[in-house]
Amino acid sequence: MIESLINDDRAELVQAAKKAAPVVLSTRIRLARNLVGAPFPERADLFQRRDVLTRCTDQISALPQMDKGTFLDISDLTELEKQVLVERHLISRELCDGEEGAGVYINKGQTCSVMINEEDHLRIQFLKTGFNLKSVWKLIDAFDSELEKTVDMAFSPDFGYLTACPTNLGTGLRASVMMHLPGLVIAGQMERVIRAVNQLGITVRGLFGEGSDASGHIFQISNQQTLGESEAEILERLANVLKTIIDHELNARCKYLEEHRAKMLDQIGRASGILRNTHVISSDEALNLLSYIRLAVDFGMLPESSRANVDRLVIECQPGHVQYAAHQGIEPDARDIARANKLREEFANLPALAFDKLEESE
């Protein structure tokens, strides 16, 4: 069902050609939208859900942005296929676990996905690699305006876009930026950062959102509030917080390198050694080691071009992706072997760590 999606090497999050940025892996924005009058998905019966699904897919398929896009009905997907799409951040756990009559539209480059009948009738999402709040907003704003030409969106002058949960009222906008923060984690400052940004109405979560842990030193940082500020204000406030976090992260890296140079280099060297030679590896361990390789790229010890490869491997080392690539349901033990095989192959093509480059970059 999803084979063409998974094997498409131009997909935004897993393509090796795109330039990836230090610290920020990707930027996502989603908009929550609902149709006037129709009961929200949780309240609707199967007939009503199917009606909304058909109405929305008809309108979405007509949009120029969805040219050559793919529609997937959730009830047609296997558990493994759902997991793969969740790992790619194209659909949510909630959509998978929900009732029948839900689906997702995914565009050709996998930069845009529209979930239908998740918590709201429509959850529009755009994502791009790197730190791109403004350009992602432009894309999603244009898409939303185009959709509004044919779909009657539920809106009130006071509350803005109406959503099932009051936490999303107003703009319905949630921007999430995926950040790689090994410096802050190693320095033990992450908890303080989280507490500080929480007070500014900004949320910090692990790689896979609510309840997931922060393996690979990767954090999802997003705005909590959606009402009372315009989209531009929300994005600017978030961008300012993110820029501060980036500064703190880079400082923490420098400081750690100054004080524990040998230890840092040792950790990077060991990570590379294990990834080149591993025969059994869990996804958690893989993620944590890949984090050090990404750091090595940021330090100039590996070519810039390998950063995108590391980001791709972060996704391809996830349990669903490993199983999917094996073309069969395999047990966790076999999965750890398959993952190790893949990493060894990939790392055989990576140049050796240029420890001397670190001197130059200072």
């Binding site: 009961p39 929200f40 305006s145 030409k149 009657d152 809106f155 909590q224």
Partner: protein, 169 residues
């Protein structure tokens, strides 16, 4: 006084006392050990009090009037239990319940962002069209043909405008 505090979720003795400032507003909550654990207060990911409060269902106050949304059938108790609305019409019905929730949750209580101008214009022109068509039918029935012609022209104008909006440039 301090040792009498009860957990705001399960009413057991509270041992965790939290104060957080969000948007210059002080939020305070008292929790027992197990609820604190469950809500992730001590988790590595950090914790947002406003987030937790917004997800904690509020019990229906005894004697509170029960409203029901005429469009989707959601009642006051449903909103209290789930914290969610049932459809776009619910916002009128439960406005007085939603508003206080928003104050703690968001940066403000009024929308300042994008407005779906095209969709709103279309919705209002739909209503206008319906009214004009009713008026036209009435005029025809009353054999007021001059009036009818006027309504027919107005309907034409609205329909032409709609066509322009939908057709691609």
């Amino acid at each position: 006084m301090a040792d009498n505090l009860k957990c705001s979720i399960c009413n057991k003795e509270a041992t965790v006392h939290l104060t957080q400032i969000v948007n210059n507003k002080i939020h305070k909550v008292d929790l027992c050990e197990s609820c604190a654990q469950q809500k992730g207060v001590k988790g590595p990911e950090g914790f947002s009090l406003a987030d937790m409060l917004s997800k904690t269902p509020l019990a229906l106050t005894p004697g509170e009037a029960q409203d029901v949304c005429p469009n989707c059938g959601q009642g006051t108790a449903d909103f209290r239990r789930t914290g969610r609305l049932g459809c776009s019409e619910c916002f009128e019905v439960f406005k007085s319940l939603v508003l206080p929730v928003l104050e703690d949750m968001h940066a403000g209580t009024t929308h300042k962002g994008k407005v779906p101008t095209v969709a709103l214009r279309r919705q209002s022109s739909k209503i206008q069209l319906k009214n004009l068509q009713d008026a036209l039918a009435r005029a025809v029935a009353e054999e007021a043909y001059e009036e009818a012609a006027k309504f027919r022209d107005q309907i034409k104008v609205i329909k032409e405008a709609e066509k322009l909006e939908v057709s691609p440039k």
